[in-house]
Symmetry: C2
Subunit: 428 residues, 2 copies
């Protein structure tokens, strides 16, 4: 199996100012190409650190991808360090120069002089066209290893990798494959999930399938992996194992293969021709943001009332002032009225309402930080449930949003008159 | 200067299923401790990969932190691999066992049998208490290097590091310091920013100050770094340089040291005793989410109307049906009416409205994808501006939100009757 390593260059990662999302994206791409990533490294943007890392790459690594350090500004020194390491002279790439000029003229901006340098490349490098920026990627070969250098700005890097590097990699190598199948679950912790499916898990070894539990706040992903072998058989094997486990976890499983809960909810709404709205207090717009982050969501999403005050809960959503006084804003009665109020306000089939104490302040003995009521309105009626989400604001907001979308999802599945397992196999 | 390396263990990062946010957080912590992170690595969760990485750590590294692979489930093998590498036998830590039992009983759940194993530790390890989960951290020493192993779940890891590891690290070492000062800018690209401040930048070398441009969609951070030397003098040097550059970038600079724009807006609103609301169409709740992600935001944030349909723009915000017909939803007239409508609806001093074509669908020759109108209402009146944000949905939403908050910020600064530079120095 081919082996890749990913090197991220830049102090900003080593001092924690920037999170390395590029490597995760690149790893997914390599995985899809059937190339195994054996190491991801972040190093400083100094000549020594770059040379040191390149010297340390084991000889059996087939592809090394470097990101970062190719911008026009003075802190970027990768290009020079690479020219040295590959013992390369310099050339001016006229095509790149043309593109850099175009990049600025199309925005009606004069090209800053410093950007002309971006067309200056090590002689031994092939330029990889950058459609979204001025710094081209570079492709080097040394011994039997390919070295690809790209700018660190995510959308530029992604363009170069997908459109320039991947075709060249495919041309250059023969690939085998890894098969993965991931089941997305919400509402159950890692160890409880494990207890539920331990016999099934025990049995996976027979087929040489590896299982991983990947927890993140509110979500646990179950990943089955199968390396090498006959791929058609492998797919069938994985599918059979997935079919076996689904009845054990049907209350929690909502999708496959990194489909997000908000995508899944959108897909099911569209499938039934349904619409939805939200009334958010403690989640402050996060549910709306997740739902509308999906393109085409305007087909089923009508809108939200983010009512952060009692007055607006009354005037916009029609929540009763007596209820607010009697039960408080964080209560079953108010969650129900918010859900019903927004369903009516936007004229939608379904709605979600959240009201809670997100924290870190605002808790009381009866309603500690993390107390949340989620209301759901459906064409058949409405209901609300109480949760204790913990004491961490950001995590509370996320967990509440996921829990609310899962509750809504179950109601949509009921309205579609299908089983929760059938719902998993609905195609867009 | 002390040197640290961070090793993240787990296939989920190497296949790109999980983004490594732990390392960024740890790097920030080390930075604050005055310990330089020289490398961050991600490796597979196999015995071989773990032993290989530990063998590869250079002898002059003082602290190695490992995260991941300590959960109760069967894919987690770090603990065994560490016991082997440190040639250690096993012990049962009674304190840990007690805490694991408590963890489950406090939630009214019976302890799954597998969790008892979490109290089984390598003899040579000191346990680091985990207040949020069942897997303890571990502290090993070998030759002159400290090795810390922690679970990968972020909030568990953060607790263990802050409350258990940091005090032990401080006890163990003497530290020097790195000084950083970061200026946050919005609304200008990396190379244009560079052109604006090139003379100033040139001059930094005199003081041995390093400058980095850290771009992310809509935001460029300017980071000044000074290594070693007298720290009091260093702070004054950095401060002077910052004071020099601010007048050149006052249209773009909004804060220092990773303060977010939403924090900054909140701080300024609170300073003036002002309130705000939002009316979001194309940003779909993202602005509300950002604003309410700040704890205490209910002091100044009253709410939002996320109007994703024309009908709701009319009925909730009072946008004129004639305007919608004549100019379309993405227009100056509608942005203005949305801003004024929501200002009135929630009775706030300020408001933001967004309406645009987020994409990837929905564009037209007159209003291509990325066309956005942002409306701002203030106590003195209202205005709207048009932007072209590009063709990428997620980036559009983020850029629009940042631009809108920056526009609002400038209006708040005006209302406070201070200069934009004075505003940067307002304390919470």
């Amino acid at each position: 199996m081919l082996q890749a390593q990913i090197i991220t260059i830049g102090d900003e990662i080593l001092i924690g100012q920037v999170i390395d999302t590029n490597s995760a994206w690149l790893a997914t791409q390599f995985n899809a190409l059937g190339i195994k990533v054996s190491r991801i490294w972040s190093i400083a943007d100094t000549r020594e650190a770059i040379h040191g890392a390149l010297d340390d790459v084991p000889g059996d690594v087939d592809v090394v991808v470097m990101t970062g350090g190719l911008g026009p500004t003075k802190d970027d020194i990768t290009k020079g360090a690479l020219a040295e390491w590959f013992s390369s002279g310099w050339k001016t790439d006229e095509l790149v120069l043309e593109r850099v000029k175009e990049h600025f003229s199309s925005r009606g901006i004069e090209m800053p002089a410093v950007n002309a340098d971006q067309a200056r490349l090590p002689e031994k490098a092939d330029a990889l066209h950058n459609a979204y920026g001025t710094a081209p990627g570079m492709w080097f070969e040394k011994n039997n290893t390919v070295f690809i250098s790209m700018p660190g700005v995510p959308f530029e890097m992604k363009y170069i990798f997908e459109h320039q590097a991947v075709p060249k990699i495919k041309e250059h190598f023969e690939q085998s494959e890894i098969l993965h199948k991931t089941i997305m679950t919400q509402g159950i912790g890692e160890s409880s999930l494990m207890s539920l499916i331990s016999d099934w898990e025990e049995d996976l070894a027979k087929d040489n399938i590896k299982l991983a539990y990947l927890p993140s706040p509110g979500i646990v992903r179950l990943r089955l992996s199968l390396f090498g072998g006959n791929m058609l058989d492998g797919r069938i094997l994985l599918q059979d194992r997935v079919r076996q486990v689904l009845p054990m976890i049907q209350d929690y499983a909502f999708a496959f293969d990194d489909e997000k809960l908000e995508q899944n909810v959108g897909k099911l709404l569209r499938h039934g021709g349904f619409s939805m709205s939200t009334a958010e207090s403690c989640t402050g717009g996060y549910i709306s943001h997740l739902i509308t982050s999906i393109s085409g969501s305007s087909d089923y999403y009508h809108g939200s009332a983010i009512t952060y005050t009692n007055v607006s809960k009354q005037s916009i959503l029609g929540v009763s002032g007596d209820f607010l006084k009697q039960y408080g804003a964080v209560s079953e009665a108010v969650a129900l009225q918010m859900a019903e109020g927004v369903q009516k306000l936007y004229g939608t089939d379904f709605s979600i309402a959240t009201t809670g104490v997100a924290g870190p302040g605002g808790g009381s003995p009866e309603k500690p930080v993390g107390t949340v009521w989620i209301g759901i309105a459906t064409p058949q009626g409405s209901f609300a449930r109480k949760f204790l989400m913990g004491s961490h604001r950001e995590r509370n907001i996320r967990r509440t949003a996921l829990q609310a979308m899962q509750m809504l999802r179950k109601e949509i599945v009921k309205a579609l008159e299908i089983s929760s397992i059938e719902a998993l196999f609905i195609e867009e």
